[in-house]
């Protein structure tokens, strides 16, 4: 199964690389409204993904017959504060999490620093989670803020 995930990741990475989703100028163009390519990609992905996910849920089983169980993300105050912080970071780096890895693969040296920063940021978050729980009304430690 691991090979399947490597292959799917490779296809995903290739598409992100060639579409502009992992390109600094296309990301700034999206936020400046001077290049709408990324809005088109995200819109198309959601428009096609929505009926697809609905159909797979109707089917209820994976190809191998396992039950489909989608863990929903919890709602909490971290959605807004975290969203603001992430938006600032996405704009400054011109990369969101997937494209950081894609850019490393492409040979963009500075992406290694973004990756190191992202790991440090996630590391700090996990380490202080219990102290953030009350101010941000975050779920129990066992649940976390959600996969994704």
């Amino acid at each position: 199964m691991r090979a399947v995930y490597v292959v799917l990741g490779t296809i995903f990475g290739f598409i992100l690389s060639r579409s502009g989703a992992a390109d600094y100028d296309f990301i700034q163009g999206m936020f400046l409204f001077t290049n709408l390519q990324l809005y088109g990609i995200m819109g198309a992905a959601v428009l096609v993904g929505a009926p697809g996910i609905w159909l797979i849920k109707q089917r209820g089983r994976t190809l191998a017959g396992r039950k489909i169980e989608i863990e929903l993300k919890p709602l909490h105050r971290g959605n807004i504060t975290g969203g603001v912080l992430f938006g600032i970071g996405w704009s400054l780096a011109g990369m969101c999490p997937g494209p950081i890895l894609v850019n490393i693969g492409e040979g963009k040296i500075y992406a290694l620093a973004a990756f190191a920063g992202a790991l440090a940021g996630a590391g700090v978050f996990g380490t202080v989670y219990q102290r953030l729980q009350r101010p941000f009304a975050l779920p129990a430690l066992k649940v976390g803020t959600g996969e994704g």
């Binding site: 700034q28 992905a45 993300k73 919890p74 807004i80 996405w90 780096a93 500075y110 992202a118 440090a120």
Partner: protein, 172 residues
């Protein structure tokens, strides 16, 4: 407009969107997995950090599939370069070089700080562009709608301030 990577022309947005949806649906249909990349940062952290947050079942049990997916992303970027004009290490950063123009050390510092925002912010928000923006929206989840609107708005404000106020682009 071409990509920074070897000045390649970009894929059509509809084709790229269809491809992203295809990968998202394949993950669900084959592996019962919800697309999400930023949780992979926690998976990597959990390899070395002992905090109870990184010992959770949700993190540890995700490693066997999410870490291979993350490796695939690096491989996909590498193949894209190799098949599209050749792979070589580069510092090129498009309009950043034109308008802000920091050297290698400055770029590393800039990107590290941006990475801190990305790592801490995505985990506080419970996801990123993939988990909230693609999967969460396509699955009609309200927290994902709220988060996506928030990070898009924050990105728009930040870029507008950086490129229209602090480092204005000439001719725009």
């Amino acid at each position: 407009m071409t990509l920074i990577l070897n000045n390649l022309p970009p894929l059509h947005w509809a084709l790229a969107g269809l491809g992203v949806a295809g990968v998202t649906l394949a993950l669900l249909l084959i592996g019962n997995r919800r697309l999400g990349i930023s949780t992979g940062f926690e998976d990597v952290c959990s390899l070395v950090l002992p905090a109870p947050y990184f010992r959770r079942l949700a993190v540890v049990s995700g490693r066997p599939w999410r870490l291979p997916l993350l490796c695939g992303l690096v491989l996909g970027g590498f193949l894209s370069a190799v098949l599209g004009g050749g792979w070589k290490p580069t510092w090129a950063l498009g309009m950043f070089d034109t308008a802000i123009g920091l050297g290698p050390a400055g770029k590393l510092a800039w990107m590290f700080v941006a990475g801190l925002f990305i790592g801490f912010g995505t985990r506080l928000a419970g996801g990123c562009t993939s988990g909230h923006g693609i999967f969460g929206l396509a699955n009609l989840e309200r927290p994902s709608l709220i988060t996506t609107i928030t990070f898009m708005a924050a990105g728009i404000v930040t870029t507008q301030v950086v490129y229209r106020v602090i480092f204005p682009l000439t001719g725009q």
